[in-house]
């Protein structure tokens, strides 16, 4: 029973790391209906910028602040050069634009900051803690706490600020929002900047775990089943989806893996996502599309 509990808790905590990545997707999808393929590249770019600034001798807080500024400037540039010219184009066009954008960001990152692998020390020890007989990772606990704080901040931003109300209006009905004078371009800039900051948080935590290197952009693969399960339009859904994926793949690897050859975590998450697609196509917290026919 102890081992089961340990696996379950470990899985839930690991799932919050997936949620952190998924939240970045949700923000942009909510505001513009675009599945941002470049989220992984943004995550990599943010972490790489932070580490590069630290290598120049900047203290943690200043490096963090400057990285936030860089990501905000990046958001404005993306909105001006990529999104604005494509406004009113189909979703697949915007998706393809973000696909191209991901390669541009990765190439730019390597050109500016080099391809070498960097260690990232956030000062959080990756050591086991024992809650009774159950072992949990201190690092995972910090990651889970970070996700909780991030969700709280985003909830405040969306629900208690004028910008948040505008964001929700755009997400609910873009045309209606435009008709009452909401500046869509400004909203997109803000959303992409916030998604960049979320990418920075996720990038720092994933970077501390695996090093800051180009494969960091591959962590988005873990976010896709999370989004399918939780829904593309709900931050709460991203959290719930992450927890479900984390717990399920950990339990499956330990209890099912030995019977079917092991190494099942990557595809098991997608298998689970497929099951959810059958039962609840919009995800647990996603908005159901209702159309008049």
């Amino acid at each position: 029973m102890t081992f089961f509990l340990e696996t379950l808790i470990g899985g839930l905590l690991a799932g919050t790391m997936y949620s952190l990545v998924a939240i970045g997707f949700v923000l942009i999808y909510k505001a513009s209906g675009v599945f941002n393929f470049a989220q992984g590249a943004m995550l990599l770019f943010a972490a790489l910028t932070f580490v590069s600034l630290q290598e120049q001798g900047l203290p943690f807080a200043l490096a963090l602040l400057l990285t936030v500024v860089v990501m905000a400037i990046g958001a404005i540039v993306i909105e001006r050069t990529v999104l604005r010219p494509l406004v009113n184009r189909s979703q697949i066009t915007l998706f393809m634009a973000t696909l191209g954008l991901s390669f541009v960001i990765e190439g730019l990152a390597q050109g500016l900051m080099g391809a070498q692998v960097r260690a990232l020390d956030l000062g959080i020890e990756d050591v086991p803690l024992f809650l009774g007989e159950v072992m949990v990772s201190q690092f995972d606990l910090v990651a889970a706490a970070t996700a909780a704080v991030l969700v709280a901040v985003l909830a405040l931003l969306f629900n208690r600020t004028r910008i948040g109300v505008s964001l929700r209006a755009v997400a609910d009905d873009t045309r209606a929002a435009l008709s009452i004078g909401i500046n869509l371009n400004r909203i997109w800039q803000i959303v992409w900047a916030v998604a960049g900051v979320v990418g920075l948080v996720a990038g720092l935590l994933w970077g501390a775990r695996q090093g800051v290197q180009f494969s960091l952009s591959l962590v988005v693969l873990k976010a896709l089943p999370v989004l399918i399960i939780g829904g593309f339009t709900s931050i709460g859904g991203a959290i719930a989806g992450g927890l479900i994926v984390g717990a399920a793949e950990n339990l499956a690897e330990v209890y099912l893996g030995p019977y079917i050859g092991g190494g099942i975590t990557p595809w098991f998450a997608y298998f689970l996502a497929l099951v959810f697609l059958y039962i609840r196509p919009a995800g647990l917290f996603g908005e159901r599309a209702i159309e008049r026919v």
Partner: protein, 444 residues
């Protein structure tokens, strides 16, 4: 009719001109070497120092010796991103040589590219050379005439690790009852050591536990929770890319001492341990080319290439790293194989068929390795028609938190024990493909 006459006269004039031309001097000759590099993408951090090492060694030979017996070395790079599709495209662009020089061999420097090119290179008669990866069964040159998994194939890597563990335990008899987990990347190359570890476990009586880790491997909590349940004495870590640092960190988090983790050749670079931070302190890994700058050949490169401003290296900190030294070692093999080939075919630009002879007669003993300035960097090699590996040794190095330190001499694999596995695999391949094995002086 008039056209035919023009053609005939033209051909005659060309033949006369060729006869009248003086024979090419060695100094006019160039030997082309294709370099399918990966300087962008997820594996660029490995590819950049690796190809810089190769290029710096080739430059060193040109600068200090005027090439190989006067034949200057030229090369071109083609970006593969380490991916099979781009690798095949690069191969097709490069296989016909450059500026009149044929392509003598192809070092794909990527498992997926090597797998994709295995049949094409046999058809094109261009040696496909893989060091520390590739098709293990291609050690049997009778069935794979143009495939050379030189130095340390996957079976030899696993055997060397077991032999090293036996050294640590005080003898092979002490292996009985031990638990050795092989945590392998779940891919065809990753699965290559399953058979060899099974055989070694049967011989020595240790418990062989195989655990796959799906690539890319950026989350391994569940896997290592399972491994911890086995209470292993040692873990043979067969990683690639981000899988290795995540494995080290996760293993240590689950209470497995880093000293009990022994990585394979592809989990043995600075790029594998630096991201793991303090967790990697004490971690060990095998390598056919240790890091370090004290080897005389490295000192020579520093003087003639790096300090002279002719180095390909942008990040000078990579000089002497594991991947840079791997590049130097691969450069040495390229040059020595061509030098050997010239002994038979003359001082000229060589093609794939000729270079195959060079590889199959490549012999590097200790005096020759010393003359090359590579003692300790390069193991003795004796490649033959029957044995395309020719070596089978590795050294063990340990990460002290800042740098690798070599902690063993060359650890030799039990190649005689493993050879029947290779022969059986090669025979199966020959049967499937309808290949009549060459006579290499020993039946398969």
């Amino acid at each position: 009719m008039r056209k035919t006459l023009q053609c005939t006269l033209g051909a005659g004039a060309l033949a006369l001109a060729l006869q009248a031309a003086p024979p090419a001097r060695a100094a006019d000759l160039e030997q082309y070497i294709p370099l399918p590099s990966f300087r962008v993408g997820p594996y660029a951090s490995s590819g950049i120092p690796l190809f810089d090492g190769i290029i710096d060694y080739l430059t060193y030979v040109n600068e200090t010796q005027g090439g190989i017996n006067g034949v200057r070395l030229t090369w071109s790079e083609c970006e593969t991103g380490w991916l099979a599709d781009k690798g095949v495209e690069c191969y097709e662009q490069m296989k016909n040589g450059r500026n009149g020089s044929p392509t003598p061999f192809f070092f794909p420097l990527s498992g997926p590219i090597a797998a994709a090119l295995a049949e094409r290179t046999e058809q094109d008669r261009i040696p496909l050379v893989t060091i520390g990866y590739g098709i293990t069964d291609a050690t049997a040159g009778a069935v794979y005439p143009y495939n050379f998994p030189i130095m340390a194939n996957f079976y030899s890597q696993s055997s060397s690790v077991v032999n090293y563990i036996a050294q640590l335990e005080g003898g092979a008899d002490k292996l009985k009852g031990k638990k050795i987990v092989t945590a392998y990347n779940d891919s065809p190359p990753g699965r290559e050591t399953i058979a060899s570890m099974k055989l070694l476990a049967e011989k020595y009586g240790f418990e062989d536990i195989q655990v796959p880790i799906p690539l890319p491997g950026n989350e391994q909590t569940a896997v290592w929770r399972g491994i911890r349940q086995h209470k292993p004495d040692y873990v043979f870590l067969r990683g690639w890319g981000v899988m290795t640092p995540v494995a080290i960190k996760t293993a240590v988090r689950f209470g497995l001492p880093a000293e009990r983790l022994i990585g394979d050749i592809w989990s043995a670079s600075e790029e594998d341990v630096i991201p793991a931070g303090a967790s990697a302190k004490g971690y060990k890994a095998i390598t056919p080319n240790p890091s370090g700058t004290d080897f005389p050949v490295l000192q020579g490169i520093r003087k003639a290439v790096v300090d002279a401003g002719k180095s390909s290296l942008r990040d000078k900190n990579s000089f002497g790293s594991v991947f840079y030294n791997s590049g130097v070692m691969q450069g040495i093999l390229m040059v020595e194989a061509l030098r050997k080939t010239q002994e038979k075919y003359g001082v000229k630009a060589l093609n794939g068929e000729e270079a195959r002879w060079g590889f199959e007669n490549l012999s590097l003993d200790e005096p020759r390795i010393a003359a090359l300035g590579a003692t300790g960097l390069l193991q003795p090699l004796e490649v033959t028609c029957d044995d395309h590996e020719g070596g089978g040794s590795v050294r063990v190095q340990q990460w002290d938190g800042q740098k690798w330190t070599v902690v063993s001499d060359w650890v030799v694999a039990e190649r005689d024990l493993l050879r029947p596995l290779i022969d059986a695999g090669a025979a199966r391949h020959a049967k499937e493909k309808g290949i009549a094995p060459r006579d290499c002086g020993r039946p398969l």
